[in-house]
């Protein structure tokens, strides 16, 4: 396998854009974080990214079962210790199979070096016929309230929601009412593959979490809906982000920060690259700060969008025709296209993959 080290690329041009963002009481200098389950606990990505410069690392979910992870105590001493020593902001993702599980883990995190707790509620609740917490507003609220009570009072608590619900806004409201500082949108959506050779489900668990570019429009819709309903609540946009322009879409929809996950599997330097690309995209749109762009797609622009000197290259994957009313302008290829042009990708990464990864739990 060929690995390209990216940390020395793209440093020649660095437009002066204020990338600072706030997530409740937490202020970070950059809005790009790694997504849970896609960066282990950060160390492995250090050769490919300056982890101090990005927003932070969201660790793989820890719970009292451990799964492939090393267990909570080892995680706290070894992994959180490493992140603190290297001045990397740590967002600790926690999971559980009962409200009590979540409380126990949140209690263990008291006094530990972490910037935020992200509550992964896409887990089956053993006390309620294995119904997923994230799919029931009462169960979701119970977990969030329990974690909020147990967690250090100054540490923001974000709830990570599942898109596999009828009305994500009602779950979002329930979590915020229960004390969530903010929300992470979205977790993977449930999918499956059948192996046509064995004629059986390909995954041992039958279903798995679908991630990657396929879920980006779904994730973006969730961010849009929740920001519209709860404009004061800070949001992480998560789902299929591969480029700075992808991240920009989530910011415009109302996310204060983003997390990148699946893309790391084929480009471990993606977090830093996407941060640089997002900065360039903001500059190309005449924006002076990230803050200016948050939720901007919900409002009529109050400024003149500068002439686009050239398309944003591989990152420009949403084509906005100059004249949406549809006058036939042959010099604008976008308006001549079918409506599907709004959703098709531009020059895609040749190695684009749609992954079904193991459930992030």
């Amino acid at each position: 396998m060929t690995v390209t080290l990216r940390h020395d690329v793209g440093t020649t041009r660095r437009p002066a854009i204020d990338m600072t963002t706030t997530l409740g009481p937490l202020t970070v200098p950059d809005p790009v974080f790694t997504a849970s389950g896609c960066a282990a606990a950060g160390q492995e990505l250090a050769p490919f990214n300056d982890l101090r410069e990005i927003g932070g690392v969201v660790t793989k979910s820890i719970n009292s079962i451990g799964l492939q992870g090393p267990g909570v105590d080892v995680f706290i001493t070894r992994d959180l210790g490493w992140l603190e020593e290297h001045e990397v902001r740590a967002v600790v993702s926690i999971a559980g199979s009962s409200v009590d599980d979540y409380t126990k883990i949140a209690n263990k995190l008291r006094g530990k070096p972490l910037a935020m707790i992200e509550v992964n509620i896409s887990c089956p609740n053993v006390d309620d016929r294995n119904q997923v917490f994230a799919c029931d507003r009462n169960a979701a609220a119970a977990v969030v309230a329990a974690v909020r009570r147990a967690a250090p009072p100054t540490v923001p608590v974000f709830a990570k929601l599942s898109p596999d619900v009828t009305d994500i806004v009602s779950i979002a409201k329930a979590c915020v009412d229960a004390g969530a500082t903010g929300l992470s949108l979205i977790n993977t959506t449930l999918g499956m593959v059948i192996d046509t050779r064995t004629m059986r489900p390909a995954l041992a668990g039958v279903t798995g979490g679908l991630s990657g570019p396929a879920i980006r429009p779904l994730a973006l819709r969730c961010v849009w809906q929740v920001h519209e309903a709860l404009p004061e609540v800070p949001l992480f946009g998560i789902g299929g982000i591969r480029t700075g322009a992808d991240a920009f879409q989530f910011i415009l929809a109302g996310a204060s920060a983003v997390q990148v996950g699946t893309v790391i599997f084929h480009d471990p330097g993606a977090p830093s690259r996407i941060s640089r690309e997002l900065r360039d995209v903001l500059a190309a749109r005449g924006l002076k700060s990230l803050q200016q762009a948050i939720g901007l797609a919900h409002r009529e622009p109050e400024f003149v969008i500068p002439e686009d000197p050239e398309p944003l290259g591989a990152e420009a994957d949403v084509v906005v025709p100059d004249d949406p009313a549809g006058s036939d302008s042959p010099e604008d290829p976008a308006s001549a296209d079918s409506p599907s042009a709004f959703f098709t990708d531009g020059p895609a990464h040749p190695d684009e993959v749609f992954d079904i990864a193991a459930e992030d739990a």
């Binding site: 896609c38 079962i65 492939q68 267990g71 084929h266």
Partner: protein, 56 residues
């Protein structure tokens, strides 16, 4: 194997360490070569209950 750098956890397998304890290790960064008699062949594709770091 998805990532090859140790973050995706798709290549983990149960391997017995020199201390006699089983750990879930990543074949991409902890391997790729293991002594055959250290691998828990019977438990491939699962997480054995006695694996270190796996508490219940």
């Amino acid at each position: 194997m998805a990532c090859g750098v140790g973050v995706c956890m798709t290549c983990v397998l149960p391997v017995i360490g020199s201390d006699g304890n089983t750990r879930m290790v990543r074949s991409c960064v902890d391997g790729p070569v293991f002594a055959g008699d250290r691998i828990r062949w019977d438990a491939l594709g699962s997480v054995p209950a006695d694996a270190i770091g796996v508490t219940t």
